[in-house]
Symmetry: C2
Amino acid sequence: MTTLGYAILGLLARESLSGYDLTQRMKGRVGFFWSARHSQIYPELARLEGDGFVTHSVVEQRDRPDKKVYEITASGLQALKGWITQPPPEKPTRDELTLKAYSVWLADGGEAARVFREEGLKHEEQLARYEEIRARMEDEWREGISDPGSPQFASYATLRRGIIHERGYAEWCRWLAEAVGGEVPISGRGGA
Amino acid sequence: MTTLGYAILGLLARESLSGYDLTQRMKGRVGFFWSARHSQIYPELARLEGDGFVTHSVVEQRDRPDKKVYEITASGLQALKGWITQPPPEKPTRDELTLKAYSVWLADGGEAARVFREEGLKHEEQLARYEEIRARMEDEWREGISDPGSPQFASYATLRRGIIHERGYAEWCRWLAEAVGGEVPISGRGGA
DNA sequence: ACCCGCATGTAAGTCGTTACATGATTCT
DNA sequence: AGAATCATGTAACGACTTACATGCGGGT
């Protein structure tokens, strides 16, 4: 069983979805630390069905093309449950920006500062988006969030991971940009 | 040019190394956010040499097998410099533990708490190792660290990234373990 | 007529891991 | 004699990306 398989089961455990719906949720989506394209999802769904972890039923639609809606089976739910509490295999971290930092001593200070400042901004923006979602969650799901047995709690947990990640990354970028370049441009030349 | 190619050039810009030496430095090593096995490194070195980014010379050794020592060329250094200040393509984050958290609402609270507590410990241990290295760096490289034009500074920068990463990850694991399980076992049953 | 969103697939290629393969030298 | 480290490669496989391919229905 692949990790992608469990990612799909994790979504189907919450609600039945078509391959297309799954693809939408896997598009680098908020709070969900995995991603996949439709070209990977459709074959994986076939494999999951072959293993008896999901079943599908065709839903006919008038105004749109028909779709196959996938549902998790008891066997699939069992497999998913078993996977959750198994310690994950540790995979080496690969981060291209940090790799660039490893060679930053060779670069022009100003240019390097610009890159790390820009990347820092991206993470700050993502952080802001996450904080907004968090505010909405804490507002709308007051009970769910405090109940570890609810999917809302789990969503909140992954979101928290995202917030901590972005906060730390942004902090590091800002520090490094400052250290290599120093001077922040007084007013931009109009570019991004 | 692949990212691995730049990772190798980044190491060779600091010192000339053999494929074997490169492999040692790529074994999930401290402060260096990339990794590769020898089976990937040797072919990549051949490719880099074909592109004129590195050259090698055979060094004969009496007490050990001979080795090919690779050196970065002017062209290789130029390519590396150009790469550093290019914004990296954003790649989707894939984190299996966070994915597990997304389905944690289905799991037994105690078992889940154990997993996240254990993972948290691993990150705390890695953090401790990083902090130790940092202390030594700050002690031994006092000048290098404050000079953005020195490789020591760059090493320190990647190490800082590692520290922030581990700190954030450990914090999240502790929070989640607490939230799902609560009670910490008074005394272990002897296991890890 | 053309583009966009919905909907589902296959094929080719890249990157990385695991396994296969060989050989020298040193230590026990 | 056998294990461990140094040293360099190739082959098979799996995961993921990009591109190819098709078709319906609605809006401009």
